[in-house]
């Protein structure tokens, strides 16, 4: 049981290292066991070092860096053990344009194996949609769905961006 966990842990750690580098465009990251002698119960610690920076406690990362590190962790799980579909509600809100672009490229790579449904108000994310739905509330308190052609999407971002 402990050995099984150790084996999967090694796989997850490698996955996290790779995904982190892709999303941050560099840097490094590592998962470590708080108590390697106690594989059955040990907690897991996360170390993240954005490019050019020193390895620091997670709490010293910026808002956008934390969001991207969390996305890297989620994606690294999905790479190792895909789930059929994944619903993500505004997870790209804190990312600057450079990080957002890398996030969207990576999403595209996972989208072969996993069906993604995203809620977003970022233009770059909308541009990656195979299908785009708009939700409106013309009648107060009543939601209405409209399906949107991608040309019109860039117009919609001006109701958010």
């Amino acid at each position: 049981m402990g050995e099984k966990f150790a084996a999967s842990f090694a796989v997850l750690n490698e996955s996290f290292g790779l995904v982190f580098k892709e999303l941050f465009g560099g840097g490094k990251s590592m998962l470590s066991l708080a108590d390697p002698q106690n594989l059955l119960e040990s907690g897991v610690e996360i170390n993240a070092q954005p490019p050019g920076k020193r390895l620091q406690h997670l709490s010293l990362l910026s808002g956008g860096e934390k969001a991207l590190a969390a996305i890297a962790l989620l994606f690294s799980f999905l790479r190792v053990k895909p789930v059929p579909f994944c619903i993500l509600d505004e997870i790209d809100t804190a990312l600057d344009e450079a990080n957002l672009a890398r996030f969207n490229s990576y999403l595209q790579r996972l989208a072969g194996k996993i069906q993604f449904i995203l809620i977003s108000h970022r233009k770059k994310t909308m541009e990656r949609a195979d299908m785009l739905y708009g939700v409106t509330m013309e009648e107060p308190g009543v939601s209405k769905l409209i399906s949107v052609r991608l040309g019109a999407a860039t117009h919609l971002e001006s109701s958010a961006g």
Binding site: G43, F77, V80, L118, R128, T136, M137, K144
Partner: protein
């Protein structure tokens, strides 16, 4: 396996019967504040078996039923159905397509259907067991919750790791 369609009736702000046809690729939902985008995510979560009212952003289960608007009366029940393409057989069931339906009445009674046959919530949850489907911080990331993946204490994180392991 992927979701083909989501149908909602009387679910939160979606008072009128609404159908989303989905692509196996990437679907993006957009719109202004408060228009109902997160409500769609809640509907999907709920029909897949979510029992935590807190994760559905309510204080009581009947918060999920349309509770009225300027020119609309509250409804007495809500119904959501999700239809999945199951041609890969990954759930181990003998259907090419699987439809899960969940209904909730104001008096608190619930109904569950699997391919139009009445069933219990237990059967729906068992069907999805070990697939990761519907799991928080894995299959669903709620609004404002992405950073929680990092915040949880090392021991809590362990549970997520065991899920993925």
């Amino acid at each position: 396996m992927y979701i083909k369609r989501l149908e909602m009736y009387g679910f939160k702000s979606f008072v009128d019967r609404t159908t989303l046809e989905l692509t196996p690729g990437i679907t993006v939902v957009v719109g202004p504040n408060g228009c109902g985008k997160s409500n769609i995510a809640d509907a999907l979560r709920w029909v897949l078996g979510e029992q935590s009212v807190r994760l559905l952003r309510g204080t009581r289960m009947d918060d999920l039923i349309f509770n009225g608007a300027a020119s609309r009366k509250p409804l007495g029940f809500t119904e959501v159905s999700v239809t999945m393409d199951h041609s890969d057989g990954s759930l181990g069931l003998d259907y090419r397509e699987i439809t899960v339906t969940r209904r909730l009445y104001r008096d608190g009674t619930s109904e569950y259907l699997l391919n139009r046959q009445t069933c219990r919530l237990k059967e729906i949850l068992e069907m999805f067991m070990d697939t990761g489907i519907g799991k928080e911080a894995y299959s669903f990331i709620g609004q404002g919750r992405i950073e929680e993946i990092l915040n949880s204490r090392p021991e809590e994180r362990r549970l997520i790791f065991e899920e993925a392991a």
